[in-house]
């Protein structure tokens, strides 16, 4: 028996919206500690890692660890049937081949339930080492979304460089080029707008804007986003959901661009 209840169905909806364009099918691994999902996009360029801790749910029960293979698009369709303030309960009995979604309005006068067929998904789990990153940037997620949305109109790839002056996003396209630089700021009036740049070593890497743009769909999940970079390692874009868990994206750097620079 697996049973998990969230007061805010909207949170689950936002998570699905953030990853369904990147990954079609994925396994939700449910065990005592929580629900985890790890999946790569079709081109194997990026990796999504979602963790929802058990204590983040209002009710969480797993008798035996289970792997729920779900088509994210179908799940997203079901989640769209939830009202904004509804709570959601997901459950599955051990032998069943479907998972049930139960939506309840706050006043408990409306209930809807949907069953989603589970799939057998052959997925590879990757070992993600706890790497030391050369540079870490924390900024408002809306800011990152805006930068990426602005730059994606200009070119395919963005060069992210962290130096003493701050973090710089540079794009070069056929029509022209552009760059955005963010400097360290403490956000005296609004701490939520602060930009923290932590640099152990200067880093400069190129990434596909297409993927960054998809990652930024997770902005509604968290007001803040962390970006971590290392030379010769994937970029980490992490949206921490307070008390619940995190949604992290890893993106392989573009190699070709580095050669061109030299």
């Amino acid at each position: 028996m697996f049973e998990a209840r969230f007061t805010e169905a909207s949170l689950l909806k936002k998570i699905l919206d953030a990853i369904k364009d990147l990954v079609q099918d994925a396994n939700f691994e449910c065990n005592e500690s929580g629900v985890a999902l790890q999946a790569m996009d079709n081109a194997h360029v990026s990796l999504v890692s979602l963790l929802l801790r058990g204590e983040g749910f209002d009710l969480y029960r797993v008798d035996k660890p289970e792997s729920l293979g779900i088509n994210l698009n179908s799940m997203s369709k079901i989640m769209r049937c939830a009202g904004n303030n509804d709570s959601v309960t997901m459950d599955k009995v051990e032998s069943a081949d479907t998972v049930r979604f139960l939506f309840e309005s706050p006043s408990a006068d409306r209930m809807s339930e949907f069953h989603l067929k589970l799939m057998d998904i052959d997925s590879e789990t990757l070992e993600i080492p706890e790497a030391m990153y050369h540079a870490e940037v924390e900024l408002p997620s809306a800011e990152l979304r805006r930068i990426v949305a602005d730059l994606v109109t200009m070119g395919d790839s963005v060069r992210v460089s962290v130096s003493k002056e701050g973090v710089r996003f540079t794009v070069k396209g056929d029509e022209g080029s552009g760059s955005v630089i963010l400097r360290q700021s403490t956000g005296v009036d609004k701490p939520e707008d602060a930009i923290h740049v932590l640099m152990n070593e200067p880093v400069e890497q190129s990434f596909a804007l297409k993927y960054l743009n998809l990652f930024c769909k997770a902005a509604p999940l968290s007001a803040r986003v962390q970006i971590k970079l290392s030379r010769d390692a994937p970029l980490l874009v992490n949206y921490a959901m307070s008390n619940v868990g995190h949604l992290a994206f890893y993106l392989a750097p573009k190699i070709g661009d580095e050669e061109d620079e030299q």
């Binding site: 790569m40 081109a43 360029v45 990026s46 070992e127 080492p129 790839s157 994937p234 392989a252």
Partner: protein, 296 residues
């Protein structure tokens, strides 16, 4: 029981110590040689010929004599292995789009030596290594790759501190010297000096970039199109400078405005390793490939 089988059996039950050292990291010419010398742990005093010490303190003739003695020992008393990394391999790895630095090349060679010893049936429990790069990381690589090692000592000047490392340094040095002496220039390549054919006894000096003889040889032998013969490590800065000055400038068919390659995002699988389903055991060599760690 035939003698071969007998010593193999004995080698397995005894605990062996291995010492590793290299020759030819600095020179711009010739191969980098890694050598290992192993003997039963605790028997270094009786198994290693007397007179073995840091190869730098011995004359070439002394090294040759000791090398002969070391190689003649029966394999159940003392064993040696070598890994020769050609200058071409060094150039290729250091100049590849995804560069592998000399430290990583060195670490891989040292790990390969231990793997060879273990594959040959020796039960290796102790390793003594002269350090290259960070000692702590180097030691960690050994421990991760070979969990059977009970003792790993990675330290500077190990070639004078441990007899096994001294012995390994002699084997490495002699192997490199012999290879250099026997180096045959590919057909058609001649020493640039007055068209004189490049015989076995060439005057390239010590091979170190600081040696004036070596510099003169490099100056004589730079070809405007092909650069240097395969004996030379192209990745050394002294070569790069010379090629920039003396070789012709190449204009590639692709104009500079165009991109050399279609910009292609690399796969995330280059960075993360697949985890075997159902097992959480960490395999040695797992990890970010390009953070300078070894691969399986």
């Amino acid at each position: 029981m035939p003698p071969q089988e007998r010593w193999e059996k004995r080698a397995r039950v005894r605990e062996w110590a291995i010492g590793i050292d290299e020759a030819g990291r600095g020179p711009v010419l010739g191969p980098l040689v890694y050598a290992a010398c192993a003997c039963p742990a605790g028997c270094e005093g009786t198994r290693i010929p007397s007179g073995v010490t840091d190869s730098k303190q011995l004359s070439a003739a002394q090294r040759e004599t000791l090398y002969g003695q070391l190689r003649r020992r029966p394999p159940d008393q003392l064993a040696t292995w070598t890994v020769v990394i050609s200058p071409q391999e060094i150039s290729a790895k250091m100049l590849a789009p995804r560069k592998i630095n000399l430290n990583t090349i060195s670490h891989d060679a040292a790990l390969r030596l231990v793997a060879q010893a273990i594959d040959a049936g020796y039960f290796i429990t102790e390793a003594y290594v002269d350090t290259v790069g960070g000692a702590a990381e180097y030691e960690r690589k050994f421990r991760e790759r070979f969990p059977s090692l009970r003792r790993v000592v990675v330290q500077a000047k190990a070639d004078s501190a441990f007899a096994l490392v001294s012995a390994a340094s002699i084997v490495a040095k002699v192997t490199r010297d012999r290879q250099l002496r026997a180096w045959a220039m590919p057909r058609g390549i001649q020493d640039g000096d007055a068209g004189r054919a490049c015989g076995p006894a060439v005057d390239w000096g010590s091979g170190y970039p600081s040696d004036p003889d070596t510099q003169q040889w490099l100056a004589r032998n730079v070809h405007p199109v092909f650069g240097y013969p395969p004996l030379v490590r192209f990745s050394w800065s002294t070569c790069e400078e010379r090629l920039r000055r003396h070789a012709v400038k190449v204009t590639w068919a692709v104009s500079e405005g165009e991109q050399l390659k279609p910009a292609k995002a690399d796969s995330i699988l280059h960075f993360f390793l697949r985890k075997e389903q159902g097992t959480s055991r960490k395999r040695p060599g797992w990890c970010l490939r390009r953070l300078g760690m070894t691969r399986e």
